[in-house]
C-alpha cells in the first residue's frame, strides 16, 4: 500500500468526530425491498469514445435518512473499458485463442478505506474471478493471435464491513462488498464486450444472493444484498450466469449454510438458484440495453447495400 512515489492521502477517511449516544444496531438501514427485489440498475454502453468498447454501471444508492455517522451511501459505480482485439506482440508465443487481460482497480476514493494506486491482493483476486466468468462466454477461438484488455475501474463501492459497527457483527460473512463488485464487474464487462462487438455466446450477468436469518429463527434468501442493509448473514454467493444457455461460469460462495431443526431445507443449490435469479434480473436490463444499442445503430439503415 505504501507508494512512496506519490503523496498519499491518509489511510482512512478523516471524519469529523461526532459523539452520539451509542445505539448498537441503530445505524443499520432496514431493507425495504422485497427479498427477491434487486436494486435499480443504470447501464450505459459506449461511454468512452476512443475505446473499442466501454460501459458504465451504477446501482441505486441506498442512503441513511437520518444518521450522519453513517452518511456514506451504499452504491456501486463501475466503468469498464475494452481495448482491442489487437495483435499479440511479435515475440509472444502463438495462441489460437483470444488472450484476455483483466485489470480491476479501485479508485483511491472508491471506498471509505482509501485504496492505494498500485493494485493490491483484493483487486487481483476480483480480477481473477471476473476473468473466470468472462473466459466462458467469449468465443475465444474467433480471434487467434489477438488480445484484448479489459480495464474495470471501481469508482464507488461498499466497504466489506459496515463503518462504525465495530466488532458487533459476529455473524457477518466478510466479502459481501467484494461479491457485489464482482457481480457488477461481470455485468458491466458483458455490456462493454457487446459494445466492442466481440463474439460472445450469451449476455452474461452477475448475481448475488445471501442467506439471512430472520427473527423467528428461519432463514430467507435475499437477492442483491447490500452491506449496509444486511448486518447479519450466514452465507453469500455470487454467480456469473448465461441465461440463454443456462450455464454458470463462476461460483463464489462464502460463509456456511445454516442447519435447521424445524425441517426447513436450506441447501447450497437453493442459494445458488437465488443468485442465478438475481443474475436473471440483471439480464433483463442488459438485454434491453443490447437491443437499444443495436436499434440505435440500425435506425439509419433504410436500404440495404446494393448487390455487388
Amino acid at each position: 500500500m505504501a507508494d512512496k512515489r506519490r503523496i498519499n492521502g491518509p489511510a482512512s477517511g478523516t471524519a469529523i468526530p461526532i459523539f452520539t449516544p451509542s445505539k448498537s444496531g441503530a445505524h443499520t438501514l432496514q431493507r425495504t425491498r422485497k427479498p427477491n427485489q434487486l436494486r435499480k440498475i443504470y447501464l450505459q454502453p459506449g461511454v468512452v469514445p476512443t475505446a473499442s468498447g466501454s460501459a458504465y454501471l451504477e446501482l441505486e444508492s441506498l442512503c441513511h435518512p437520518s444518521s450522519l455517522l453513517n452518511a456514506v451511501p451504499s452504491s456501486l459505480k463501475l466503468s469498464c473499458v475494452i481495448h482491442g482485439p489487437k495483435p499479440l506482440p511479435r515475440n509472444a508465443n502463438f495462441s489460437s485463442n483470444l488472450q484476455l487481460t483483466i485489470n480491476v482497480k479501485f479508485a483511491p476514493f472508491a471506498t471509505r478505506q482509501r485504496r492505494g494506486y498500485i493494485r493490491d491482493v483484493t483487486e487481483r483476486d476480483i480480477g481473477t474471478h471476473v476473468e473466470t466468468a468472462l473466459c466462458g462466454v467469449i468465443v475465444r477461438d474467433r480471434w487467434p493471435k489477438s488480445a484484448i484488455d479489459i480495464i474495470i475501474t471501481i469508482l464507488e463501492a461498499e466497504d466489506d464491513v459496515q463503518w462504525g459497527s465495530g466488532t458487533q457483527q459476529q455473524n457477518t460473512v466478510g466479502g459481501l462488498g467484494n461479491m457485489n463488485v464482482v457481480s457488477g464487474c461481470i455485468t458491466v464487462a458483458s455490456a462493454a464486450l457487446m459494445d466492442a462487438k466481440i463474439d460472445c455466446l450469451d449476455l452474461i450477468t452477475g448475481g448475488v444472493a445471501a442467506v439471512v436469518p430472520k427473527d423467528d429463527g428461519k432463514f430467507v434468501h435475499h437477492l442483491d444484498p447490500s452491506v449496509i442493509e444486511e448486518p447479519f448473514l450466514n452465507s453469500a454467493c455470487v454467480v456469473g450466469y448465461m441465461p440463454a444457455r443456462d450455464e454458470v461460469t463462476l461460483v463464489w460462495t462464502r460463509g456456511n449454510i445454516p442447519s435447521y431443526s424445524d425441517g426447513q431445507t436450506c441447501r447450497f443449490d437453493s442459494l445458488l438458484d437465488s443468485a442465478v435469479n438475481a443474475a436473471k434480473g440483471a439480464h433483463v436490463i442488459l438485454r434491453q440495453v443490447a437491443t437499444e444499442l443495436a436499434q440505435a445503430e440500425s435506425t439509419k439503415l433504410i436500404i440495404d447495400e446494393s448487390k455487388t
Binding site: 455466446l201 449476455l203 440463454a244 443495436a294 445503430e297 440500425s298 447495400e305 446494393s306
Partner: protein, 404 residues
C-alpha cells in the same frame, strides 16, 4: 402422423413484386434468391421452385429483426452459420444429435443478414481500425519531436514521422535538425492531409503514416466531409478507387475552368472534395512562372526530370487556397451533400455511388428549375420546402440503389 399438405400462404411472398405498401424487399434479406415461405410448406409440401429456396420459419423472421448475443436464430438444420453466429455443433462434435447441433445462436448484437442459406450478423458500427496500405485522410493534432500526431478516426492517434514525408529539394535529402525546427512550415496543427498507412504498431496498434508520393500530402482548395467509416459494408469501401475526378456540370456551360472536382474518400470515413488540379497543366504553369523568374536571373532552365520535383514540391506545403469560381464551389457543395446523404442512407460510398448520386441530384435540380417558371408551383414548393428536401433525398437514394 400423417402428412398434411398446407396451402401456400400469401403473406410470406414479399419478394420482388411484393405488396404496394413495401416497394423494396426487407433490408436485411439482401439476396433476391431468398424468399420466405413458411416452415410448414418446406417440411411437408413440395412446391416446385419455391420449395427449394431456404427460408426461416415465420416466427423467426421478423422484419428488421435485432438480435442480441445468446438469442437463438434458428434451429433448422438447413442453415449455415456465418459471421456473428455460433453453432453448438462444433466441428469436433459433428456427430452430436441433430436437433441440438442445428441450433444457431447470435454472438453479436445487430440485425440478421441472410445471404442464400448463410445467416450472419454484422454489427453496424465499428470503429476504424487501421491496416497497412489504407488510404486515409487525417488532421494534424500536434507537432512532436521529429513527428506529427494525426487524427485518423482510429482508437489512437496516428503518427507521421518527419522522415516519411516528401521534403522540398529531392527525395534523397537527409533530414537534419534544421528540418525538425521548421516542421511547422510543412504541417501545422489543424492541417488536413491524405496519407497511406505504412505500418501498424504491434503492441498498441498505433498507425504510422507516410506521404511519400505525389498523390499524398497536404489538402487545400476543398471541403472536408466526415462520414461513417468501414463497417458492415456501408460507408467508404476498401479496395476501390478512392481518389477520383468527377466531371461536373460547372464546366459544361462556360468555357472557363474545367469544372472538374476531385473527390478523395478515406477508408477511415474522412473525405475531401476539392477543385480539380491537373498535375500536367499545373506543372506547365509552374514552368512558365519558373521561366519568368529564371529569365530575370539571366539563365534559362526548362522543366526536366531533375527539377520537376523541386518545382512541384515547393507548392506541396502551401496552405493558400486558389481562386475557385462560384459554379465549381456549388458543385463541390453538392458532392459533399451527396456523400453525406449516402452515409445517412447507410449505402456504400465509392466512385460508382458518388457519381450516381451526383447525377441524380443534378437531374432533380433541373426539374425544379422547370418548376420555377410557374409561379404557383414555386409558391407551393416554398410551402413544402421540407417535403421537397426529403423528396430529393429519396430520389437520390433510389437512383443509387436502383442502378446497383
Amino acid at each position: 402422423m400423417g402428412i398434411s399438405i398446407l396451402p401456400p400462404s400469401d403473406s410470406d411472398d414479399d419478394l420482388g413484386s411484393g405488396s404496394p405498401g413495401s416497394p423494396s424487399p426487407s433490408p436485411h434479406d439482401s439476396s433476391s434468391d431468398t424468399s420466405m415461405p413458411d416452415a410448414a410448406s418446406t417440411s411437408s409440401s413440395r412446391r416446385p421452385g419455391a420449395g427449394k429456396r431456404p427460408k426461416l420459419s415465420s416466427s423467426q423472421r421478423r422484419r428488421n429483426r435485432i438480435l442480441v448475443p445468446g438469442e437463438t436464430i434458428t434451429d433448422e438444420a438447413q442453415w449455415m452459420r456465418g459471421h456473428g453466429t455460433f453453432s453448438a455443433a462444433a466441428p469436433s462434435s459433428s456427430h452430436a444429435s441433430a436437433s441440438a447441433g442445428a441450433t444457431i445462436t447470435a454472438t453479436l448484437p445487430g440485425p440478421l443478414h441472410t445471404t442464400n442459406k448463410l445467416l450472419s450478423i454484422t454489427p453496424l458500427r465499428s470503429r476504424y481500425h487501421p491496416s497497412i496500405g489504407d488510404l486515409v485522410l487525417g488532421r494534424i493534432v500536434s507537432v512532436d519531436r521529429a513527428r506529427w500526431r494525426v487524427d485518423i478516426a482510429a482508437p489512437l492517434l496516428a503518427q507521421l514521422p518527419l522522415s516519411s514525408i516528401n521534403l522540398p529539394g529531392g527525395v534523397l535529402r537527409r533530414r537534419t535538425t534544421a528540418d525538425e525546427l521548421q516542421m511547422r512550415t510543412y504541417f501545422q496543427e489543424g492541417d488536413l492531409l491524405v496519407a497511406e498507412v505504412q505500418g501498424v504498431g504491434n503492441s498498441d496498434g498505433v498507425a504510422t503514416l507516410h506521404t511519400r508520393s505525389l498523390r499524398y500530402g497536404k489538402l487545400r482548395n476543398g471541403v472536408f466531409v466526415r462520414v461513417m467509416g468501414e463497417g458492415r459494408g456501408v460507408g467508404v469501401v476498401r479496395g476501390r478507387r478512392q481518389v477520383f475526378t468527377v466531371a461536373t456540370v460547372a464546366g459544361s456551360g462556360s468555357g472557363s475552368g474545367s469544372g472538374e472536382v476531385d473527390v478523395a474518400l478515406g477508408v477511415n470515413g474522412y473525405c475531401w472534395v476539392s477543385r480539380h488540379v491537373d498535375p500536367e497543366a499545373d506543372a506547365l504553369e509552374k514552368e512558365k512562372a519558373g521561366k519568368a523568374k529564371m529569365a530575370g536571373a539571366g539563365s534559362r532552365v526548362g522543366m526536366s526530370i531533375s527539377n520537376l520535383d523541386e518545382l512541384v514540391s515547393n507548392e506541396i506545403y502551401s496552405s493558400q487556397n486558389d481562386e475557385i469560381d462560384y459554379r465549381t464551389r456549388k458543385e463541390i457543395a453538392r458532392l459533399c451533400t451527396c456523400i453525406t446523404l449516402l452515409a445517412d442512407a447507410a449505402l456504400k460510398i465509392d466512385e460508382d455511388t458518388v457519381i450516381k448520386a451526383y447525377s441524380a441530384a443534378v437531374e432533380a435540380e433541373m426539374e425544379m428549375m422547370v418548376d420555377e417558371d410557374d409561379e404557383d408551383a414555386v409558391a407551393a414548393a416554398a410551402a413544402a420546402g421540407v417535403d421537397r428536401k426529403s423528396e430529393l433525398k429519396k430520389r437520390i437514394v433510389q437512383a443509387v440503389v436502383g442502378g446497383g
